[in-house]
């Protein structure tokens, strides 16, 4: 029931939004809907933890062995919570941003939420594919309609990239399906597909294409900085905060347990790509003058680390990835909120044109600095727990190159400190100039959103166990399935 509600609430409220013409009303409606979803998600996490509330099963296309089955397991819990939490934060933080045809904007945003929830809940491969695409379509319309100047080409590139990835994944799904003993798309029957070594490698690359584009992993990342830059910021927050996690999630749920041999075999190759991408993205981020692009490249670096950790395949790395998916989602939304505020207030995102904001906007400066420090994984912040676990995992992994991977990945943490601190120094400190001299501090809505984020940062930083408890069981079971074969 809980699981079904998580999909149904955004879906239905989203459809209603399309017919609400009043801008104020539809904004309030969207916030209301997202708060209900958040409440349902929290209830699923605390009160109604019984299996019967968290699963839902209905006959769908029984003739080909596909059913509407959803289940809220630990990994799903965490990412659904992230999705449910991200929406109110985004809506509150962008409360004062106005959109043309706002009914369509909020309607599409909520539909995208329904798609995202479905991706994290589905335990039927065909259903997973349905939701995977359904999350993408509203995003396409959101970015192309409300984005920046080059939005049409940029979003189209994004769409084509991800679509190519997904259709390849579809072939992979069909391939595994045709080798399942019961001819079913259910995840348990996917587990029992006994594919040979070369068959697994074939499926591996088909799945990897979809997930690597989504995350994105170097060299499939070229859509990402442009799309983040051109999209409306509310959409960018959802894209970078929640949607890119679909890639990591997909690997953990649909690749590692289903094709463990190939996952192990190609682990070094993909980790290498991920780590090259980390260094590369960090070096580019240092050069960036545009705030949005800076955050975009920093996101590539962080996702690269998560990818490398997934392939390390041990319990600390997997646990680290799971909680880092949540933490990174929260942190990056915080960064975007500040970027959005700067762009709206000063009409520019150029770091070189800004300066001295701390004098004029102390609240913004304090909150941003905390979030930025969390982004470079300082102890006591949430990202520290996740990154520490991931580094431990990479260092103790089975691969021959574990030391190299750890050292190179660690390098990117230093580089992250360089660009983040540099950004803070140039934007918030120094002298004010004509652009920033008349700045006023952030308003209540941004304070509220950033405040909640900062509270979460410290909470998860001081007591990460609350997240680890959720994911403990599922990460063990995933690993167990993956390790059966080596």
């Amino acid at each position: 029931m809980i699981a079904l509600l998580l999909i149904l609430i955004p879906l239905l409220t989203g459809l209603i939004s399309f017919f609400t013409k009043n801008e104020k009303a539809v904004r309030a409606w969207a916030l209301f809907a997202s708060l209900i979803t958040l409440a349902v998600s929290i209830i699923g996490l605390t009160l109604l933890k019984d299996e019967k509330y968290l699963t839902f099963h209905a006959e769908w296309m029984s003739s080909i062995g596909s059913s509407f089955s959803i289940r809220l397991d630990g990994m799903g819990q965490l990412l659904c919570l992230l999705t449910a939490l991200a929406y109110p934060l985004v809506l509150v933080a962008t409360w004062n941003t106005s959109y043309r045809n706002s009914n369509n904007f909020f309607g599409l945003m909520l539909l995208a939420q329904a798609g995202l929830m479905g991706v994290f809940l589905a335990i039927d491969a065909l259903l997973f594919y349905f939701f995977w695409e359904l999350a993408l379509i509203p995003m396409y319309f959101l970015c192309s309609q409300w984005g920046g100047e080059r939005r049409i080409q940029v979003t189209f590139k994004f769409f084509i990239y991800t679509f190519i990835g997904s259709v390849l994944m579809l072939v992979g799904i069909l391939y595994v399906y045709s080798h399942t003993p019961t001819r079913s798309f259910d995840i348990t029957s996917f587990y029992s597909s006994r594919l040979s070594d070369p068959q697994q490698s074939f499926v591996f690359w088909l799945f990897f294409a979809a997930f690597a584009v989504k995350m994105p992993i170097f060299p499939f990342h070229t859509w990402q900085p442009d799309t983040y830059e051109q999209s409306p910021t509310a959409t960018t927050m959802i894209l970078s905060g929640v949607m890119v996690k679909m890639g990591v999630f997909g690997m953990l749920r649909w690749m590692m347990p289903v094709i463990p041999i190939a996952f192990y075999r190609w682990g070094d190759t993909t980790s290498f790509l991920a780590i090259v991408g980390m260094i590369y993205a960090s070096l580019i981020a240092i050069q960036q003058n545009d705030l949005k692009r800076l955050v975009a490249y920093s996101s590539i670096a962080h996702m690269g680390l998560m990818c490398a950790a997934v392939f390390a395949e041990n319990s600390s790395s997997i646990q680290g990835v799971m909680i880092q998916m949540f933490n990174h989602g929260i942190n990056i939304i915080g960064l975007w909120i500040v970027v959005e505020w700067i762009e709206r207030k000063f009409g520019t995102r150029k770091i070189s044109e800004l300066g001295g904001l701390a004098q004029k906007a102390p609240a913004a400066a304090v909150l941003l600095v905390i979030i930025a420090l969390a982004n470079i994984a300082l102890p006591l912040t949430n990202a520290f727990a996740g990154e520490f676990l991931m580094f431990t995992g990479i260092f103790t992994s089975h691969t021959r190159y574990n030391v190299w991977f750890t050292v190179l990945a660690g390098l990117s943490i230093i580089l992250a400190a360089v660009y983040i601190l540099n950004m803070i120094r140039k934007v918030f400190y120094g002298n004010t100039n004509n652009v920033t001299v008349a700045a006023i501090d952030i308003t209540w809505s941004e304070k509220l959103a950033l405040g909640i984020i900062v509270i979460l940062i410290f909470w998860m930083g001081v007591y990460p166990q609350s997240l680890l408890n959720i994911t403990n069981e599922i990460s063990e079971s995933v690993l167990q399935r993956a390790n059966l074969f080596h």
């Binding site: 192309s144 309609q145 259709v167 390849l168 072939v171 069909l174």
Partner: protein
């Protein structure tokens, strides 16, 4: 049998109604009522109620598959007439005759979907083709329409010749036209038979515009009056595809080893040429012509796979493709400007129509939640079960990704670009029909069993 006879009768009625009745709206309504009746008696036949008992000596057998496809074809034609019958007035003076020709084509379709003898196949294909030559040239004052008609006629006659030659060779080798009698191996498969098989393969490929026999398609589809292009590119094409599949499933399935590779090559070429060429088109009408080639490539996968999934999938595919394409054409007919820019700002002027068009385009591109996705999915599933063709499947899905490029150009024009050009005028009934059509596509995309259920019931 019900539909076969009734469609012929209605064809004659429509011919005479042109002389007897002067008012166009009455003629139109008779035609629509006739199609309703046709659909009704066909469904009755599926329930086992026959109005006519005629001994066909086993040359035609109206089985479940054929009847289901007939129903789909009649339903699509009904939708087509509801949306576009009024626009036929603009084409020429002989309004009633267009309906008569359409009924004759439907008569041919009932033959091609149920034949058990190669002669009936030939008869059906000819009954479909000849009215089409006339419809293509029906805009008599227009040079392009005349050119298209002549081109279609000459090339069509040539391929008919090939087909007849093929049938003759097969008869020469087996001494029968009966499909079941041909379909077994006696000793070594003779050269004569294989030659006949290849000739039939080529002529049917021509009719469904598979590469390299597709050269007539863009010119004919572009030159023909747009109302009739809509009919040709959808219902007729679907019917010929069903005939193509039946022919190879029932007549040549034991010779699979001889033709499967060839069909595979034709599939790849069709997917490639159709999709890549469609990318470079500037006119939506021509784009749809190439898109019909590209979609034929996907449908050919059913022929390649040759299994139950392919059969079901092709039914779903032809339905999804026909309905979506009819919907797009219905709007295109009303546009003044057929280029992509003609659609600029369409969403502002006609939000409902733009939304339905988006659903049709998404369906053609194969995005989930639409019938188009599931039909592509069935095709891939069928091909997967045929085994050992991973690269063919990867190629097919990559080409599907290419198709996103040209379908989405229309969506981009409608939603993200603006114009000052004046809006098209449509009636409320038109909008409602489009909305119902779009919801049908979504319904089939979520519950394909609604359609396939009829197959087994």
């Amino acid at each position: 049998m019900n539909a076969l006879i009734l469609s012929a009768i209605f064809g004659v009625i429509m011919m005479f109604s042109g002389i007897a009745l002067k008012q166009k709206s009455i003629i139109r309504n008779i035609a629509i009522a006739g199609l309703f009746l046709l659909l009704l008696v066909n469904i009755l036949e599926m329930r086992g109620i026959l109005l006519f008992e005629i001994d066909t000596r086993g040359m035609i057998i109206f089985d479940r598959f054929g009847l289901l496809f007939d129903s789909i074809a009649f339903f699509s034609t009904l939708i087509y007439l509801l949306l576009s019958a009024k626009d036929m007035e603009k084409t020429g003076v002989n309004y009633a005759e267009y309906f008569a020709l359409i009924f004759f084509i439907l008569c041919g379709i009932t033959l091609t979907s149920s034949f058990k003898s190669l002669l009936i196949l030939f008869l059906g294909v000819e009954i479909i083709s000849i009215p089409l030559y006339i419809l293509t040239g029906s805009d008599k004052k227009n040079l392009k329409s005349n050119e298209a008609s002549l081109k279609y006629f000459l090339l069509g006659a040539f391929s008919t010749g090939l087909m007849l030659m093929g049938i003759a060779l097969i008869y020469g080798s087996r001494g029968t036209f009966d499909t079941d009698s041909i379909n077994h191996i006696t000793g070594e498969s003779s050269t004569l038979l294989i030659a006949g098989l290849l000739l039939l393969l080529f002529s049917m490929s021509f009719k469904v515009s598979a590469v390299p026999f597709h050269f007539w398609t863009p010119d004919v589809y572009d030159g023909a009056p747009t109302v009739f292009t809509s009919f040709m590119a959808t219902i007729v094409k679907a019917a010929v595809f069903i005939a193509f599949m039946r022919l190879f499933y029932e007549t040549f399935s034991v010779f699979k080893g001889q033709w499967q590779l060839l069909v595979g090559i034709i599939t790849v070429a069709t997917l490639f040429i159709g999709n890549i060429t469609a990318v470079f088109q500037q006119s939506v009408k021509r784009m749809l012509a190439y898109s019909s080639i590209a979609q034929a490539g996907f449908m050919l996968l059913a022929l390649y796979a040759m299994n139950g999934d392919g059969e079901e999938g092709l039914l779903l595919y032809t339905t999804a493709y026909s309905l979506a394409t009819i919907g797009i054409f219905a709007v295109l007919i009303k546009m003044n400007d057929y280029t992509f820019d003609g659609f600029n700002g369409f969403a502002k002027q006609q939000p409902l129509l733009a939304a339905t068009l988006t659903i049709f385009l998404l369906s053609l591109a194969g995005i989930p939640l639409t019938a188009g996705f599931l039909s592509k999915f069935y095709m891939l599933k069928a091909a997967m079960q045929a085994g050992n063709n991973n690269w063919l499947m990867i190629f097919a899905v990559l080409m599907a990704a290419v198709s996103v490029y040209y379908y989405f150009r229309v969506i981009q024009a409608m939603y993200f670009k603006t114009t000052n050009a004046k809006t098209i005028e449509v009636t409320a009934g038109f909008k409602w029909t489009m909305a119902i059509l779009a919801s049908l596509i979504i319904l089939l995309g979520v519950f394909p069993n609604l359609l396939l259920y009829w197959f087994y019931f």
